[in-house]
Symmetry: C2
């Protein structure tokens, strides 16, 4: 399946100090953003540099966390933001105007960092991304230019895995459909609600046993599911059965979970053949990237009952979702928010600011991505 | 909390041979009811008794499994059903007419087996129930009369625990609300969906650490939650912190999970004081029985934002649900179907038929309930 072209990019490796094993919410749900710092320097502290002396971090488009929390979300006393999206200039003109002052970019999934963009910035040395995926960054060009990339590490893995479990139980046990049934007042008038299917005993096939996939496996084992997986290569630290071919994995599982990264190799990895192997009793869950599944084929399979159901957080042409799915009770959807919790955003803030401050202080990054010639195929 | 009156009934103990640890669905989701036997005896086997010679098992009202699968669902060659609900006679008259022929009742949650009913059947020796709860059976009268009771054992525990996790993640991560958001086409027009709250790190308080509660704990530990519990008494086999007072448990957790049985002691156990201790960031999940919570108070707390949210499978006056809850995105509801899976119904069929056949063959019951003077306070 993953035989193919080079150059490839190896799975993200991180030195993120924020382990998923540590409880991040010690008391209640209210987020604590007490660490946010003001943009303007305190005038009573003359030893600190003025804001005008701080190095620039370029932002092409505000990441979701900016939109939600405001532009002070990632503020620091060590750098300032250069906001391309606030300029009336075309992007290329804007970048040319600032070519000599940008050493770092803060990127997000919605704003591609292309080779053309990179080439306009001769001093660029760092790309930090707020997203779990790296598919929006031209990693080959970064590698060629010696630009380092800092990822979001594993901060989203637990939330993503939780979303997988929620979508899987929902599809099997009809949770969202039941909520609609009760809220529409149908219980007292229509009586019985359709039976669901038990999660325990299900054979779960995970495509991409990286940081998310392994968290999914840990959770689903506690429900009595049996786990197998497909990945670029066999993982020596896991004893789960390994299928080198995703079609064979699909043929031998009841639920197929997509946790891999989007690369040239995984684009439309889940095609007609794989969905056919999954079969009419099979369920598919995708919290990775929409284009990993041939969406047109998936919609056809769902509409025609060729697979049992789907839980989808991601789509090929977001935020557009195929209308045919709106009326299907066996399809549960969310608006690409599998990682959107108060707690993960607070972790993100610490990590992004930490990576940028480390870079400008000549200290090791918290979550560097290892760029080599291997395919990036990991969740 | 559980100090109080006697006589009490001890938690169900079972010898159910169908362990939750065994995968019950070895291949795909389609249920296998190949074991269902015809009502009419095969005429070519003269050694078997005719149907008219078989002992009666009284049914007051068809259990949900009858409604869903048809009346042959529990058929056996060892007994036949006497269906009170098909008779035009008032129940008391019907029972008096059959007083000398009923040794066993097949009961369900919707058909109470009261002391008055029991007194009309002097030969009654067994009550088998299809429900997880026993609150519809007058256990004191059974104990006094020496009538044995067979429960559904632990066959529902895994499905109930799965439902708890599904409801909890749904309330925290807004899964059903997100599904509505996408299906109503709001993603492309409204953009951002509200942030959820991470499950990992949450302090989960379980009320009733029985067969369901312990399955809930096992699952939520895999998500990184910390577990504590309240029960009639401390459980020596669990190391989770024990709170003898449910109000103190509520004050020290982010999510309160109701898994205990409904008894005189647990009726409105979750009252204004407990909900107040849970507080405005707290979430409550109930898959046990509606009247364990003071529903009027719960609705007020939810409407006025005094607690964060609720996942409710059960209600005080089912199938009626308080209309005030219909519009709340922070409330996820299901129509008392936390145990309704194809697989659990197949397990139930084997267990009910097995208990009744064992009784009429003078063999040990599969899932006898131990009736003594202890309160029945277990999930």
């Amino acid at each position: 399946m993953c035989a193919g072209r080079s150059p490839y990019i190896k799975p993200t490796t991180t030195s993120c100090q924020q382990s998923d094993a540590n409880p991040r919410v010690s008391t209640r749900f209210t987020p604590n953003f007490a660490g946010l710092k003001p943009t303007t320097m305190a005038p009573e502290n003359p030893s600190l540099p003025s804001e005008n002396d701080l190095p620039y971090v370029l932002i092409l488009k505000p990441p979701p966390s900016f939109v939600i929390f405001g532009e002070h979300f990632f503020n620091s006393t060590k750098f300032r933001f250069l906001k391309a999206y606030e300029s009336p200039l075309p992007l290329a003109h804007f970048l040319l105007a600032h070519a000599q002052s940008v050493q770092a970019i803060l990127s997000s999934g919605g704003a591609p960092v292309t080779a053309d963009t990179i080439r306009l910035m001769p001093l660029l040395r760092l790309v930090v991304t707020t997203s779990q995926g790296l598919n929006h960054i031209d990693l080959s060009e970064c590698r060629r230019r010696g630009i380092v990339v800092a990822s979001a590490g594993t901060i989203y893995s637990a939330d993503c895995a939780d979303s997988v479990v929620a979508l899987l139980i929902d599809v099997l046990r009809k949770v969202s459909a039941a909520d609609r049934f009760v809220k529409q007042g149908l219980w007292s008038s229509q009586g019985e609600f359709p039976l669901g299917s038990k999660l325990g005993g299900k054979r779960v096939g995970i495509v991409g046993l990286g940081s998310i996939g392994s968290e999914v496996a840990k959770r689903l084992e506690a429900f009595g599911c049996s786990i197998s997986y497909n990945s670029r290569k066999k993982k020596p630290f896991f004893s789960y059965p390994f299928y080198p071919n995703v079609r064979e994995l699909a043929a031998n599982c009841d639920a197929l979970i997509i946790c891999c990264a989007l690369t040239d190799e995984t684009h439309h990895l889940i095609n007609k053949e794989v969905l056919s192997a999954l079969g009419k009793d099979g369920v598919i869950i995708n919290i990775a990237r929409g284009p990993i599944i041939d969406e047109k084929e998936l919609v056809r399979c769902l509409v025609e009952g060729e697979i049992r159901g789907a839980g989808l957080d991601v789509f090929e042409h977001e935020p557009d979702v195929p209308n045919e799915l709106f009326a299907l009770d066996n399809v549960v959807m969310s608006p690409h928010n599998a990682v959107f919790t108060w707690e993960s955003f607070e972790d993100l803030r610490k990590l992004v600011v930490g990576n940028l401050e480390a870079f400008f202080s000549n200290e090791p990054l918290l979550t560097p991505v290892v760029l080599d010639d291997q395919p990036h195929f990991s969740g």
